[in-house]
Symmetry: C2
Subunit: 107 residues, 2 copies
């Protein structure tokens, strides 16, 4: 069993679409969110806004079905591939990262 | 100019290899780290361990050259593609996410 490292706070979870490999969103997990994600197969975060567990799609139906998971060298970040049921972003976009930022040094 | 949203704490930054699109690491930025990243073209984090700005590769030489950047719908997460000079992980791995977690519900 992997032990998550919460010494620096909540664990960041990067969500990738299993087919396109696009980053869909970033969320955060506490131990309960991680345990619920594994137990249910539906990605569940600790919402810093709602201050409670939040299963993505619990109201919209746009759930994220857990496929594969990796943990980083510090055990404080997760990478999760999912089957996304519907658009992930609450704006209706497929991903939350739909706004490009102009970068002066881009080559 | 994009305004970052720090209402929930530091901004998470997901680092992607520009050629493979693999997630290399996740770091965090405050305003100064973000500004320095844009000003220098080298990805700079606010290290929660060191409690100071940390330009990735400042000691190892394994820098991350900024290429493109996206911000999420809440303006509190960044997605950054980079040219990675050397392995990103301090363990010598190309990515920090080299450990797969067994997932009971994987299909």
């Amino acid at each position: 069993m992997i032990e998550l490292n919460f010494s620096k706070g909540l664990v960041a979870a990067v969500i990738l679409d299993e087919t396109t490999n696009d980053v869909l969103m970033v969320g955060f997990m506490d131990q309960a969110a991680y345990d619920k994600t594994l137990a249910t197969g539906l990605v569940t975060f600790f919402s810093r806004t709602k201050n409670r567990l939040w299963t993505k799609g619990e109201t919209s139906g746009h759930t994220l079905e857990l496929r594969r998971m990796w943990i980083d060298c510090d055990q404080d970040s997760l990478l999760i591939t999912v089957k996304a049921n519907g658009p992930t972003c609450h704006t209706g976009n497929r991903t939350c990262f739909y706004t490009e930022v102009e970068v002066p040094h881009a080559t």
